[in-house]
Amino acid sequence: MSDLIQGGYLIAAILFILGLKGLARPRTAVRGNLLGALGMLVAVAVTVTDQAIVSYWVLLAGIAVGSSIGALLAVKVQMTGMPELVALFNGLGGLASVLVVFASYVERVDPEMEDNTFLVAAGLSALIGAITFTGSIMAYGKLRGSVPTWRSSTAAYVNVGLLVLAGLAILGVVFKPSTIGWLLAVIILSAIAGITLVLPIGGADMPVVIALLNSLSGLAAAATGFALGNSLLIIAGSLVGASGLVLTQVMCVAMNRTLANVIFGAISGGESLDPDDVYEGKVRSTSADDVALILDSAERVVIVPGYGMAVAQAQHAVRDLARSLEQRGTSVTFAIHPVAGRMPGHMNVLLAEAEVDYEDLIEMADANPMFAQTDLTIVIGANDVVNPVAREPESAIAGMPILDADKSRTVVVIKRSLSPGFAGIPNPLFAQENTLMLFADAKQAVSDITKALNEV
């Protein structure tokens, strides 16, 4: 590798680091992203000066096709579809790693003569890349609702099968894939492992899965770097791998679950409450006009958005309500649970798209002390994240951090019905004395409230 390439890689690595640093703060995030893109441009530009490269048209064609598809996807995607897109991109990155390592394997004249580093790294790259690819495609299908979650006792057997497969694949790596057939076997076993890994994981755990796959796509690139002896692949891949792990950990903490528990155990056990006992005769329903009257006299209002709000496309209606309230001098904040969306920080993006000021979005830790001084909390399309049974050690979601919406003076829950959330358990908040249920489509209900409020 020439000095020009090495020097370019150094500059690219520095730009990646500055880019990630920038992405970590709201004020520098846009610039951080541009620095990352610039780093990628530098990396590609110096790589094509490699004298071994002869067929430029292949490269140009590949870049042109890839850029067009990528740009199209990026422009077309709706913000509710971001998790699917990130899952898809993760998967493509993983598959690209597999293809690169396979191609470089094919080029080696005699694998028996290769050093162990290449063989083991190639095996690892194939292993991680293939798991990332099929795992991401499964996650993509689940997020789109086209792949059902398989929740049965047999799911445990699938995971045992996964362990066996993963073990075989790792054995294949340890004993070095010294023939192309062996490498293919590792790829196929890992691909199957990726499918069975994600198949039994429920929709509520998707934020963890997406973060983990993000990390794996980075580690796949790093492993490819070991195989190719490419410093930039190692550095960039490891940075991404580490940042993905941090986010995975953040998401696990937000659900009070370990990573192993997310992967190997569906939510189960705990004392199940009978919905009839919880709700019978205690649920009080309300109307948009009545909610407007309560809002009229409220000074502090907190809005708790859940994914149901995004499904109903109610973000803009909610923004209008918040603006109307602020114009009347009412204080409005949004309390965001870390797993309110389908990927880490998803709810924040959905509200940003609706032009809600990001400084009005309050994290769980800061929001919880506020509820006791809140006149009215409006829960829109959220369920498990405000379920007070999480505080009881016997419950199925025991220990999961929740938003203490039940502690505010009055709670209005906008929801279509009393159906349970992902955890599949009833929510005593809905039957609480200070809770009013507004059974309606979120978008319609919020528009009606705003209209009624402006007429009060």
Binding site: A52, Y56, G66, F89, A96, E107, G229, I234, G345
Partner: protein
């Protein structure tokens, strides 16, 4: 590059990555993921060499496919991150002059 140097780079980059990301506010989690995801498309560099070096047609085809996939990842990732970040608004930022980017 020796294995030891490669491992050194790996270890330092992992620790650096953890340090860089540890205190990111939740608001930025999604853009951070899509942005870092685009960076993981760095595999494109390896793909370019595989596709451009005239060894065998198998390697060229595999390399070409890898270039396409990794470029989708890179270009799509950076573009969608930029699109997302341009949606973030703050009243305070609009007033301050020292905040490039966020108030666009």
């Amino acid at each position: 590059m020796t294995l030891l140097i490669a491992l050194t780079l790996f270890a330092l980059a992992v620790f650096l990555g953890i340090e860089l990301i540890s205190k990111v506010p939740p608001t930025l989690h999604t853009p951070l993921m899509s942005g870092s995801n685009a960076i993981s498309g760095i595999t494109v560099v390896g793909a370019l060499v595989s596709a451009g070096v005239d060894h065998s047609s198998t390697a060229t085809v595999l390399g070409f496919l890898a270039v396409v996939l990794a470029t989708v990842n890179v270009v799509g990732g950076f573009l969608v991150t930029n699109r997302m970040l341009s949606m973030f608004h703050s009243k305070n930022d609009a007033r301050s002059k020292t905040t490039p980017g966020t108030d666009r």
